[in-house]
């Protein structure tokens, strides 16, 4: 596979075999009654990493975080922090802090007392607490709200108090359970970048839970995709997007077109896939797909070209009819129904104001893509 690299920064301890993971889940299983919430999961997180747990509702994200924080113990397996087995260590002795999904602000305390709570617990001198609280209030832009009680704040303000409270102790690891859920889109985007800055400037390890893939892609160094308590893939956002490991991951993150078929021939990295209707696709990066395997070729919409005539020199081209079309300003999304019935999504960047090849509803059209435009998925 070609290296996709990290777009964000050259921070990739997970590629370094000598790097020691900071947090390790080793064969962790968590069972509630007869329900397995986390199933034999192994995962390594590195120091100063911004790590995102992404998955649908009930996939076990919060459970993982709660086990790390010490509110639940794994049924089987162990969790290591900096080489130390955390089993039996109560939450108040673990050097990590959590921002709760429900914020869990203390309703009988002011914003200031909420933020200073952990420091007071630690026995930090009063003047120092005050200074740190002021610094935290400034960080989350709530300077005027220090004397208020949580019920006098808006949802977004409460969320920022919860964040400030979790960061105030300067924990080695900050656990964030859906930290931005209650914010509107604009504030959410702002806060995402603030969180990234915070993580960078304090040099903390962040483990963030989210079910918003865009949020995970924006912020995280690596993303773990969870489904029903199983780890589906752990990789950088770019790898997750461009080289998903399974149909589930490809479908879960972003839009994708799946061309299902069987491998007819395999030669070096190149494979020829025959679809159910007999259409042939030539692909590169065939991975471990062997001849006779049932596979899917997953191609993202922006890598598919739509044209009225069959483009010259493309190996993979199929004909169909424009079935739906959405002009979004910066790009146009086409839904093309192929002659075998499959609907293919393609998006085209509107890089010039006038197109020489205008396509509209019910027009006959060709879709085409390069042999390396997608990935071959066996799972």
């Amino acid at each position: 596979m070609k290296s996709l690299g990290s777009i964000r920064r050259s921070f990739a301890p997970w590629n370094d075999p000598s790097a020691k993971p900071y947090i390790s889940f080793e064969n962790v299983t968590k069972v509630f009654g007869d329900f397995t919430a986390v199933d034999n999961l192994t995962l390594h997180i590195y120091e100063r990493e911004f790590f995102a747990l992404l998955g649908g509702s009930g996939s076990g994200k919060s459970t993982l975080l709660r086990m790390l924080a010490g509110f639940d113990e794994p049924t089987k397996g162990r969790i290591l922090l900096d080489g130390q087995d955390l089993r039996g260590i109560p939450p108040y002795k673990r050097p990590l802090n959590m921002m709760f999904q429900s914020y869990a602000l203390f309703p009988h305390m002011t914003v200031e007392s909420n933020i200073g709570f952990g420091l007071k617990q630690e026995g930090v001198p009063k003047a120092e607490i005050e200074a740190r609280v002021a610094e935290m209030l400034k960080l989350v832009k709530l300077e005027q709200f220090g004397k208020r009680k949580p019920h006098q704040l808006s949802g977004g303000q409460r969320q920022r108090v919860a964040l400030a409270r979790a960061v105030a102790k300067r924990p080695k690891v900050l656990l964030l359970d859906e930290p931005l859920g209650a914010l509107d889109k604009k504030l959410r985007e702002e806060t995402q970048f603030e969180l990234m800055d915070l993580q960078q400037s304090l040099g903390l390890t962040f483990v963030i839970v989210t079910h918003d893939q865009e949020e995970a892609m924006t912020m995280a160094d690596r993303i773990a995709i969870l489904d029903k308590g199983n780890l589906m893939q752990v990789a950088t956002p770019a790898e997750i997007y461009e080289a998903p490991a399974s149909r589930f991951v490809a479908n879960f993150v972003g839009n994708v077109n799946m061309f299902e078929g069987t491998v007819a021939a395999r030669e070096a990295a190149t494979a020829r896939i025959t679809g159910a209707s007999g259409a042939q696709i030539l692909v590169e990066n065939a991975g471990d797909a062997a001849a006779g395997n049932t596979v899917a070729f997953a191609v993202r919409p922006e890598k598919i070209k739509v044209s009225s005539k069959r483009p010259e020199g493309t190996v993979n081209a199929m004909q169909g009819e424009v079935y739906d079309l959405a002009y979004l300003g910066d790009m146009t999304v086409y839904h093309v129904r192929l002659d075998d019935g499959q609907v293919v999504k393609a998006s085209a960047l509107n890089s010039s104001r006038v197109t020489d090849d205008p396509l509209t509803w019910n027009d006959r059209a060709w879709i085409s893509f390069q042999p390396d435009a997608g990935v071959v998925l066996t799972r």
């Binding site: 108040y92 869990a104 203390f106 009988h108 952990g118 617990q121 630690e122």
Partner: protein, 322 residues
């Protein structure tokens, strides 16, 4: 913008309600507020005025046993004459005989000690109930209320059977060789404390339970996450947040306990001094209605302070949205 909203709302209600309709709506909404006030007026204020008026009268060997008795037939002049007969002599009398003062003090003291023990016993029970699996809670609540299904009097009599020198408790302790002479609990303050704590415990448990039950458990987790041991999390988070329940429970026990007379009478023996018992004696044994009314009025004034505290706590809890 304002115009837009106005037109919107008029569009939502095509026909403005008629004057009659609006009157009716205003009346019904008033009525809802009036009902509790009417209730208070009928069953609290009017009886209180009657009692207060009797407390200003003099005893008499008559039916009813006090003068003056206002009667509408005597005419207005007689009414004003009789009005002049009313005075505060009975209240002066209360200050002259130390019996009453001592009875008040001892009542407040006994009620306070009992309330403290009821809290001590009730809090862990309520906490356990609130933390029990949700499926068990209705059953547990039921168990707390269950004693109310038996007559209060019978339950107090049952305690006499338990506490008396040859009673069940002493028999048990003697047979277990824990003690070798029977404990003298009956006819002491201890017996009254036990009686009051036992009888009023549900009134302590229920408000505590409701305060503890609606508390978000993640608050405790957050406190622990920030470095609290479970015990310090209890004192810093759970207890302060349950304070409205603590105050409500204490007031619900303290207020009736101050005026309690059955328990001191049956369990406390003859030498216990409690204002409820004094009142009962004045009323039934001495047939001195005016003095017993004065005792009752003073008792009520004494209790207004804790009632105000209770009100204030309730209002504050509501304001905090909990």
């Amino acid at each position: 913008m304002a115009e837009a909203t106005a037109s919107l709302s008029s569009a939502a209600q095509p026909a403005a309600p008629s004057f009659g309709d609006r009157m009716f709506q205003a009346l019904t909404s008033r009525l809802v507020i009036i009902v509790p006030y009417l209730w208070l007026l009928l069953f609290f204020l009017i009886p209180f005025v009657i009692v207060f008026r009797i407390s200003l009268s003099q005893t008499a060997i008559a039916m009813p046993p006090y003068t003056p008795v206002f009667s509408l037939q005597d005419g207005l002049a007689a009414f004003f004459d009789q009005l002049r007969e009313l005075n505060f002599d009975n209240y002066v009398w209360l200050t002259e005989d130390p019996l009453y003062f001592n009875a008040y003090v001892s009542s407040v003291w006994i009620a306070a000690v009992s309330t403290f023990f009821a809290l001590l016993v009730g809090y862990p029970v309520a906490y356990g109930m609130a933390r029990a699996p949700a499926a068990w809670r209705p059953t547990l609540l039921m168990l707390v209320i269950l004693p109310f299904w038996t007559s209060f009097l019978i339950r107090v009599y049952a305690w006499m059977g338990i506490l008396k020198p040859e009673g069940l408790l002493n028999q048990l302790l003697l047979s277990l060789n824990v003690i070798d002479t029977p404990l003298l609990i009956m006819n002491t303050h201890t017996a009254i404390f036990i009686g009051i704590v036992y009888s009023y415990l549900p009134f302590m448990i229920l408000p505590l339970y409701s305060a503890l039950e609606k508390m978000d458990y993640s608050l405790i987790e957050a406190a622990q996450d920030l470095g609290c041991t479970p015990i310090s999390a209890f004192w810093k988070i759970t207890f302060p947040l349950s304070l409205p329940g603590v105050i409500a429970g204490c007031m619900l026990v303290f207020i009736p306990a101050v005026g309690e007379f059955v328990i001191p009478d049956l369990l406390g023996g003859s030498q216990t001094l409690m204002i409820g018992k004094t009142l009962w004696n004045e009323f039934f044994a001495n047939r001195d209605w005016p003095v017993s009314s004065a005792v009752a009025v003073i008792l009520l004034l004494l209790l207004i302070v804790p009632i105000m505290i209770f009100q204030f706590a309730q209002a504050r809890a509501q304001e905090q949205g909990r």
